[in-house]
C-alpha cells in the first residue's frame, strides 16, 4: 500500500526569472511520514509538487482524490495537518525544515482511502440525503450520527489542555493608526500606497501573499521590471508593508482588522486593529473554476495556479497539457507551459465557442474530451474561464455589487460607498499594468487627500502626518476631498464570455463536494432561493466561504429558477474575509484580576481564594467556623475592600439619595450613616449598602461588591438623563480605599489602641455614625460604626496605599485581645445569624422590595423614588412571596442553598441562605416562601437534593442571633 518513492524534485524546473525559491537553502520535511526535500521559499504544496506529489487530500463526502486547483491560500484541495495545527493551507504555508505534515481524514493512506467507496454510492448521497433517512427507528439515530461524524472533513485539534503550553503558543495584538490602509499589494495597491505615502500620508499596505506584487510576480519580463520598480518605490516612500497578512473585516468608521500570519518576533500570529482614515480596497480578482465532469481531478488547475507553479516555484505542473482559455491569463499559462517544455497538446479557445466536456482518469487527469468530440490524452488540464472581483470588504462598507453580464462578473457599485472607502485595481476593472498603476496612483493620491481632510476636520494636530514623513518639501497641502469618486474612472471590466458550466455536471463547491446536479435538485425540491439552496446543499458554507465558487453557484441557481444572475444576487460577505485563528482573535488573553492591597498578606497566611467577579479574595484561612466564633467572642478583622464606594459631593446629593433609595435621606445629619436599599423601576431590589454624610455637601456611598460598577452606572444614568440640572459630582473610589471591618465585642478596645483624633466612647461615637480620623498613623481614614456581622464593629476605609500597614497594625495591636482575620465564609455565617440579606442571593431577578422583608425601609410616603409605583402596587396586592427566617426542625440537617419548599408537587418557595450556626449549634436558613406560608410558626416542607423531605419552621424574624441588636449598640 505504499506510494512509489518519487524522484527527488523530479518536477523541478531550471531557474525561472521570477522564482521565489532560494536554491542555496535546501532542507527536508516530512509528508505522511516520509521525508521530502524543499528549497527555502517553497510552499508545502510547491515542494511536494516539485517531488511529483499530485494528491494532497481526499474530498469531504466522496473521498475523491484532490490535487492543486489554485495553488494559493484558497486552494480547496490542499488543506493539511501541520504538527498540532489542523486545516493548514498547504499551498500558502511556507515549508520549513523538519515540519511534520500529514493529509487529513484519510485511512489507511491518502492514496488508498477506504471511504472513497462513497464515490460508488454517490447517486444515493445527493445533497441533504441525511435529512431523508435515518428517521426510524429513533433509537438508531445516535449510531448513524456517529457514522456521519466519521466523515468530518477536518484536521485534529489537540485535546489535552493539561499539556497546553501557553508560553509557546503566544499571540499578540497591535493597534495601528494609518492615514491610508491599502488592502491588497498588487500593482494598483502598490501604486496607491506609493502615491499616498509620497503625498505625505502614513500608509499601511496589507498583502496576503508572502511578497507584494500580485499577478506581476508570475508575469513576463516587463511585469518583473515594473514589480522591481514598484517595490523600490514602496520602500523609498516609507510605506509599512505587511505580507502574509490579510484584512479580515471592515467595521464601522473604517475600523479594520488585519491578521498577520507570520509576524516578526515571538508571536505565532498577530491581530492588528487599525483605524484607517481612508481604506483603499485593492483586493484584485479571484480566478473562477469551471464546472464540468471531472473538474475536481488532480491535474485540473486554474491558469493562475499553473503560472504560480511555473514562475514562482519552478515546478512543472504536468507533462502534457490541454489549456481551456477564455482570456489572457489562459493564453499566458499556455505560453508558460510551452516555454518550460510541457507538451501543450491542445489549446481550447472558449472565446471561439470551443469547450471541454469532461476530464477523466484514476487518481488524476489521464484524458479530456473536447467539445468537438476529440479525446486528448494529458495529465494537466488548465482552465481560464473568468474572474470574480474580490468585493467582500466593499460589501462590508455597505456596497452591493452589480452583475455585469458582458464582463461575466459582479462589480462594485462605487457610488454607494462612503467617502472614506475607495477602490482600485482588479476589483474595479481590468487594464494593462500601466493602467492599473495609473488608476492606483490617482486613487492613492485622493485617499491621502481625504485622510488629510478628515484629520483637519477632526482637529487633529497637523504635524502628526502633515507635512509628510519624507520631508516637508515633498508634501502636498491638504485640500478638500474631490467631489467625484477617484476610483470611478480609468478601469472598466473587460468583456468576457460568461462561462460557468459545460455540457456535463461537475463540482461547484469543491470544499463541500457539492455538484451542479445537487443545486438543480435542490431547486426542484423547492429550495428555490439562493439562501435556501445554499443552506440545503451547503454550497459556499465551507472554508472558502464562496470566494472561489460564488458566481458558479449563483449562475446555476439563476438558470434553474429562470431568474437573472443579478436577481439571484451574490452572497452577503460577512467578516472574517479569511478564516482566522481563535488565538489571534484572543491575543494575549489578559484577564484582569482585582486584588486588595492586603492580598499578599492573605496568601502568606493560608487564605483559600474565592473568585468573586473581577475580585479574588479570601474565602477563609482554614477554619471559617472558628473565625466566626472568634468574632462573637473577641475581635476579628476582614478585608472588605471590594465593597463599592462612591464619593458624592454637591448640594443636591440628598435629592439623589432620596430618588434612588427607597428610604428617606433628607434628614440625615452630618456624621451619621444609614442603610439604604435601591430598587429598579420594576420595584426589583437592585442593591443595598450604607451611605454616610461626611460633610454638609459630602457623602460616601457604599454598594455591594458585585454591584459596584452597576450602581455607579445607575447613579450616572439618573443624573445624566433625568436630572442633569442637579449639582452632584460622582467619583468612584472603590479602590482608592482599602476597607477593613473590625468586628467583635473587643473591637472598640482594639480601635482605641490604633485610632487618634476620634473619641470612640459609646456616647461620642454611637451606632450608625461616621467619623474621620487617623488610624495607625494614617490620616484621612473614614470610620463607620455599623454591624453587618451583628457585633459591635467599625468599618474603616483607609487610603489604599496604607491598607496593608493598617491591617498589620490591627493584628499587632490586638494580639492579647485575640484578634484574628476572618474571611467571606465566616462573614456569611455571621450575617446569616444576624439575618442580614444578601442582594442577589436572598433576592433574585424578580424579587421586589416587599418580598425582601424591607417593609420597614420602603417609604411610600416619599413623593417619588425609583420603583415607587411598582412597590405601591406590590403592597396593595399583598400576595407576594416573602423572605423569612427558617429553622429546620432537625437542627442537624443543613439543607443546601437552592433546595425547594414544596406542598405536594407544588413548589412554594426555596432556601436562599443556609448554614450551621456556630453560635446556636443548629441549622439556620433564610428562604423565599409563598405569601400563605409567611406567618411565623408555619411549618414548611423542604425537599433535599436526594429527594428526602424535611420540615422547617418560619421564624419570628430573619435574625436568629441577637434580634434586638443589643450587641451592635454597646
Amino acid at each position: 500500500m505504499s506510494e512509489p518513492m518519487p524522484m527527488p524534485m523530479s518536477m523541478r524546473l531550471p531557474a525561472q526569472p521570477g522564482e521565489v525559491i532560494d536554491r542555496e537553502e535546501r532542507f527536508s520535511f516530512s509528508w505522511n511520514g516520509r521525508s521530502y526535500p524543499a528549497y527555502s521559499g517553497d510552499t508545502i504544496a510547491s515542494a511536494l509538487a516539485a517531488n511529483g506529489v499530485r494528491i494532497f487530500s481526499r474530498s469531504f463526502k466522496y473521498h475523491r482524490p484532490r490535487g492543486l486547483l489554485t495553488a494559493s491560500h484558497l486552494d480547496p484541495g490542499c488543506t493539511i495537518q501541520v504538527g498540532e495545527e489542523p486545516n493548514v493551507r498547504g499551498a500558502h504555508r511556507l515549508a520549513s525544515p523538519g515540519l511534520d505534515v500529514r493529509s487529513q481524514n484519510t485511512w489507511p493512506s491518502l492514496r488508498y482511502d477506504v471511504k472513497s467507496v462513497n464515490r460508488l454510492a454517490g447517486r444515493f448521497l445527493s445533497a441533504g440525503f441525511y435529512y431523508k433517512t435515518f428517521i426510524k427507528p429513533r433509537r438508531l439515530w445516535p449510531a448513524y450520527e456517529k457514522v456521519l461524524q466519521r466523515f468530518v472533513h477536518g484536521g485534529v485539534i489537540p485535546d489535552r489542555p493539561e499539556e497546553h503550553d501557553a508560553e509557546a503558543r503566544f499571540y499578540d495584538k497591535r493597534y495601528a493608526h494609518p492615514d491610508v490602509l491599502v488592502a491588497g499589494g498588487g500593482p494598483a495597491g502598490m501604486a496607491a500606497a506609493c502615491a499616498a505615502a509620497e503625498a505625505g500620508a502614513r500608509v499601511l499596505l496589507v498583502e496576503e501573499e508572502h511578497r507584494p506584487g500580485g499577478h506581476l510576480r508570475w508575469g513576463d519580463a516587463a511585469d518583473l521590471t515594473l514589480l522591481a520598480e514598484l517595490r523600490e518605490r514602496v520602500s523609498a516612500a516609507g510605506v509599512e508593508v505587511m505580507c502574509d497578512a490579510v484584512v479580515l473585516g471592515r467595521y464601522d468608521d473604517n475600523w479594520v482588522a488585519v491578521v498577520e500570519r507570520s509576524p516578526a518576533g515571538p508571536a505565532f500570529e498577530r491581530l492588528v486593529k487599525a483605524r484607517a482614515e481612508t481604506l483603499v480596497v485593492a483586493a484584485g480578482q479571484i480566478e473562477r473554476p469551471y464546472v464540468f465532469a471531472g473538474n475536481d481531478l488532480p491535474g485540473v488547475m486554474l491558469s493562475t495556479a499553473v503560472r504560480r507553479l511555473v514562475n514562482l516555484y519552478a515546478v512543472r505542473p504536468g507533462e502534457r497539457a490541454v489549456v481551456l482559455t477564455a482570456n489572457g491569463s489562459g493564453d499566458a499559462a499556455a505560453a508558460d507551459l510551452s516555454r518550460v517544455g510541457v507538451d501543450v497538446a491542445a489549446v481550447v479557445d472558449a472565446r471561439h465557442g470551443e469547450d471541454v466536456v469532461r476530464a477523466d482518469g484514476r487518481g488524476g487527469v489521464r484524458w479530456v474530451e473536447l467539445g468537438d468530440g476529440r479525446r486528448v490524452d494529458c495529465d494537466l488540464l488548465v482552465t481560464a474561464t473568468g474572474w470574480t472581483a474580490t468585493t467582500a470588504l466593499l460589501n462590508m462598507a455597505g456596497n452591493r455589487p452589480v452583475y455585469r453580464p458582458e464582463a461575466a462578473r459582479f462589480v462594485p457599485d462605487l457610488d454607494t460607498l462612503p467617502d472614506t472607502v475607495v477602490a482600485t485595481g482588479g476589483v474595479v476593472g481590468d487594464g494593462t499594468r500601466e493602467a492599473l498603476c495609473e488608476h492606483g496612483t490617482a486613487v492613492g493620491e485622493e485617499a491621502a487627500r481625504r485622510a488629510a481632510g478628515a484629520a483637519e476636520q477632526s482637529g487633529e494636530v497637523p504635524s502628526r502626518a502633515w507635512p509628510g514623513v519624507k520631508g516637508a518639501e515633498g508634501a502636498r497641502a491638504p485640500s478638500a476631498p474631490h467631489p467625484k469618486r477617484p476610483d470611478a474612472e480609468g478601469l472598466t471590466p473587460e468583456p468576457h464570455p460568461e462561462l460557468i458550466h459545460g455540457r456535463t455536471h461537475g463540482f461547484v463547491d469543491l470544499c463541500e463536494d457539492v455538484t451542479s446536479k445537487d443545486l438543480l435538485s435542490a431547486v426542484e425540491e423547492g429550495y428555490d432561493s439562493a439562501e435556501l439552496a445554499k443552506r440545503y446543499t451547503t454550497a459556499t458554507m465551507g472554508p472558502t466561504q464562496g470566494k472561489l465558487e460564488i458566481l458558479n453557484v449563483v449562475g446555476i441557481l439563476a438558470e434553474a429558477t429562470g431568474r437573472t444572475i443579478q436577481e439571484v444576487g451574490t452572497t452577503t460577505w460577512r467578516p472574517p474575509y479569511a478564516p482566522v485563528t481563535l488565538g489571534a482573535l484572543a491575543g494575549r488573553r489578559l484577564e484582569p484580576v482585582r486584588h486588595s492591597p492586603m492580598q499578599r498578606w492573605h496568601e502568606e497566611h493560608g487564605a483559600v481564594p474565592l473568585v468573586a467577579g473581577a475580585w479574588i479574595r479570601p474565602d477563609h484561612y482554614g477554619d471559617p467556623g472558628a473565625e466566626a466564633a472568634n468574632v462573637r467572642e473577641n475581635v476579628g478583622i476582614i478585608d472588605v475592600t471590594p465593597i463599592g464606594k462612591l464619593d458624592l459631593q454637591g448640594p443636591d446629593v440628598a435629592k439623589l439619595l432620596n430618588l434612588l433609595y427607597v428610604n428617606k435621606w433628607s434628614k440625615l445629619e452630618v456624621g451619621r450613616v444609614r442603610y439604604g436599599v435601591m430598587c429598579a423601576e420594576d420595584g426589583v431590589v437592585l442593591d443595598d449598602g450604607v451611605t454616610g454624610r461626611l460633610g454638609e455637601d459630602h457623602y460616601l456611598m457604599s454598594t455591594t461588591s458585585s454591584g459596584a460598577a452597576a450602581v455607579w452606572e445607575w447613579v450616572e444614568l439618573w443624573l445624566q438623563t433625568e436630572h442633569p440640572d442637579w449639582r452632584v459630582h460622582v467619583t468612584p473610589v472603590t479602590t482608592a480605599y482599602a476597607s477593613i471591618n473590625v468586628a467583635g465585642p473587643k473591637s472598640r478596645e482594639l480601635m482605641e489602641r490604633v485610632t487618634t483624633g476620634v473619641d470612640l466612647s459609646p456616647d461620642a461615637f454611637p451606632y450608625m455614625r461616621v467619623r474621620r480620623g487617623s488610624i495607625a498613623g494614617v490620616d484621612d481614614c473614614v470610620i463607620w460604626r455599623i454591624g453587618f456581622t451583628g457585633e459591635l464593629s467599625y468599618e474603616i476605609h483607609v487610603p489604599s496605599a496604607y491598607g496593608l500597614h493598617v491591617w498589620a497594625s490591627l493584628l499587632a495591636h490586638g494580639e492579647d485581645l485575640g484578634v484574628a482575620p476572618f474571611g467571606i465564609e465566616a462573614q456569611r455565617i455571621l450575617r446569616l445569624e444576624k439575618g442580614h440579606l444578601i442582594v442577589g442571593q436572598d433576592t433574585d431577578g424578580i424579587t421586589q422590595g416587599y418580598s425582601a422583608d424591607l417593609d420597614w425601609a420602603i417609604k411610600l410616603d416619599k413623593p417619588d423614588f425609583v420603583g415607587r409605583p411598582e412597590l405601591a402596587w406590590q403592597r396593595q396586592r399583598g400576595d407576594h412571596p416573602r423572605l423569612v427566617g427558617l429553622l429546620p426542625l432537625d437542627a442537624d440537617t443543613v439543607p443546601p442553598e437552592g433546595c425547594q419548599l414544596v406542598e405536594g408537587a407544588e413548589i412554594v418557595g426555596r432556601i436562599t441562605s443556609s448554614r450551621r450556626s456556630p453560635t446556636l449549634g443548629r441549622a439556620i436558613c433564610l428562604g423565599q416562601v409563598a405569601a400563605h406560608l409567611a406567618e411565623p410558626g408555619t411549618e414548611v416542607t423542604v425537599r433535599l437534593p436526594d429527594g428526602r423531605l424535611t420540615g422547617a419552621r418560619v421564624a419570628e424574624q430573619l435574625a436568629s442571633v441577637d434580634p434586638e441588636g443589643a450587641r451592635l449598640r454597646v
Binding site: K132, T133, D159, R169, V580, G587
Partner: protein, 419 residues
C-alpha cells in the same frame, strides 16, 4: 402527511438514486388568495410550526404563512440550535420540557430528519454564586421530572476532556449543571420539516410576501395588507422575532419588548472532540460541535438595543478569549464566519404568547434567546389557543396581561447566558 407526497426513508433514497427521478417538491408555491381562515405572519420555525399544528392537530384549513424573505431566514436560521429544558421556573421547565419531547419525536412526526443529537448539556459554574443558582435549577428540574444534576469538576472533565478543569485558570470550573436530555438540532431541518409537513396539510406558504398593515374593525382583526395584495381573515398570528413590535404596532398594540442583536460564530471543521454542549454563564459563551465538525459559538445579547445584524470585531475577540479560557488548546482553530440575529427581550425574559386585547390577533413573540428551543411547543400551544376557547395551561403563565397583573415569570434569574 398527505398521501400525494412520497415519504422519505432509506428505501426512498435508494429508489430515487436508482431511478434518477427528481424528488417531489418540499413545498409548493401558490397564488395569494383573497381570504384565509388564519394568517400566520412569519415563515420561521414558530410560524411554520403554528400553521402545521393548526392544520394537523386542530383540523383547520385555509391557512396562509406570510414570509417577507425566505423560509427560516430570521432567528430560525441564525440561532445556535441548542435544545434544553433545564430552566429555572416551574412554568419554564414544563414548557421547554414539552418542547424538547416534541423535538425528540419530530423526525418521525414530520418524516424529515431534524438530526436531534441528544448529547447532554453542561452549564459551567465558575463562582459559588452560579453554583448556588445551578443547584436551584437542578432542584426545580428534579421536581418537574427533568433530568438535571449538579456535578463536580472531575465529572465535567470526563464529559468534556478539552475543558481546562485545573485551578491555574482565571475562572476555575467549580462544577456544572449537567442536563443529559439537552443537545442540538439541525435548525434549518426543523424549519424545512415543518414547512414540508404544513404544505402537505394544505397550508399555503408565501415567501417574499411582506405584511404592510393589519385591518381591524370594532376591535377585531379583519384582514392583512401585504405587498402582494389584501387578504381578509379573522385570525392573524404574529410569529415574528425582531419585528414583533412592528407587527403589533399595526393593531396599535404596544409590546413590552426591546430588540437586541445576538451574535454567533462558527469555526472550520475539525475531527469530533466535543460531545456535549458546553455553556459558561460567567464567560458569556456557549459551544457545541456540529456533526460537520464545526464549532458553533454564541454569547449573550449585545449590550444595546439595535436592529443591526452585522457582526462586530469586539464580539469575536471577546468570544475567542473566553473560549480559550475554557479550552486553551483550541488556539489554532480558525473562525470561519460570524453573524447576528435579533432577539426580542421582555422584562422578565419569558415570552408573550396567546391572546391579545385585539380579538383575532394572537402573538407568539418575545422569546429572547430561547426561541429555537421553544418552537414546537409554542406552535402547538398557539394553534390550540387559536382553535380553542381556552388558553392551554402550558402557556397560561406567558400571557400578555401578566404585565398588568404583575405576575412576572422570573426566568431572568437564570438568564445571564442560559443556552
Amino acid at each position: 402527511m398527505g398521501s400525494s407526497r412520497s415519504r422519505f426513508s432509506a428505501y426512498s433514497l435508494v429508489r430515487q438514486g436508482v431511478s434518477g427521478r427528481p424528488w417531489p417538491r418540499m413545498w409548493r408555491r401558490h397564488e395569494l388568495e383573497s381570504s384565509y381562515d388564519a394568517v400566520v405572519v412569519g415563515g420561521g420555525l414558530h410560524g411554520l410550526a403554528t400553521a402545521y399544528y393548526l392544520a394537523a392537530e386542530q383540523g383547520w384549513s385555509r391557512i396562509a404563512v406570510l414570509e417577507r424573505s425566505y423560509l427560516g431566514g430570521g432567528g430560525s436560521g441564525r440561532n445556535t440550535a441548542i435544545i434544553r429544558s433545564n430552566y429555572l421556573t416551574p412554568d419554564g421547565v414544563r414548557f421547554y420540557d414539552h418542547s424538547l419531547r416534541l423535538y425528540a419525536d419530530l423526525s418521525a412526526a414530520l418524516n424529515f430528519n431534524v438530526m436531534f443529537s441528544q448529547r447532554g448539556h453542561l452549564t459551567l459554574a465558575h463562582t459559588d454564586a452560579s453554583l448556588r443558582t445551578m443547584r436551584w435549577r437542578a432542584e426545580v428540574n428534579k421536581i418537574e421530572g427533568v433530568d438535571s444534576e449538579v456535578i463536580g469538576p472531575d465529572r465535567v472533565k470526563e464529559l468534556a476532556p478539552s475543558l481546562d478543569t485545573s485551578d491555574r485558570v482565571r475562572y476555575p470550573i467549580l462544577g456544572a449543571l449537567y442536563h443529559p436530555p439537552g443537545g442540538i438540532v439541525r435548525h434549518d431541518a426543523a424549519v424545512w420539516g415543518y414547512a414540508r409537513a404544513a404544505d402537505a396539510h394544505g397550508v399555503h406558504l408565501h415567501q417574499e410576501t411582506e405584511v404592510v398593515g393589519i385591518e381591524t374593525s370594532g376591535g377585531r382583526v379583519t384582514g392583512v395588507r401585504t405587498n402582494r395584495g389584501l387578504i381578509s381573515t379573522p385570525v392573524v398570528a404574529n410569529c415574528t422575532a425582531g419585528w414583533a413590535t412592528t407587527i403589533a404596532d399595526m393593531v396599535d398594540l404596544p409590546m413590552p419588548i426591546q430588540t437586541f442583536p445576538l451574535q454567533a460564530a462558527v469555526t472550520e471543521p475539525v475531527r469530533p472532540f466535543l460531545h456535549t454542549v458546553v455553556v459558561s454563564g460567567s464567560l458569556h459563551v456557549y459551544v457545541s460541535q456540529t456533526d460537520r465538525g464545526e464549532l458553533v459559538f454564541g454569547a449573550s445579547v449585545d449590550p444595546f438595543a439595535s436592529y443591526s445584524t452585522r457582526g462586530s470585531l469586539e464580539f469575536v475577540e471577546g468570544l475567542a478569549t473566553h473560549v480559550l479560557e475554557l479550552m486553551p488548546s483550541l488556539d489554532r482553530l480558525r473562525l470561519l464566519r460570524q453573524w447576528a440575529g435579533l432577539c426580542d427581550m421582555t422584562p422578565d425574559f419569558a415570552p408573550i404568547i396567546g391572546r391579545t386585547p385585539v380579538e383575532g390577533f394572537f402573538v407568539d413573540v418575545g422569546w429572547g434567546t430561547y426561541g429555537f428551543k421553544a418552537g414546537p411547543a409554542a406552535g402547538q400551544a398557539l394553534a390550540e389557543c387559536i382553535a380553542g376557547r381556552k388558553v392551554p395551561a402550558l402557556i397560561e403563565a406567558f400571557a400578555l396581561e401578566r404585565f398588568e397583573t404583575g405576575k412576572l415569570v422570573g426566568e431572568k434569574g437564570a438568564a445571564a447566558v442560559g443556552h
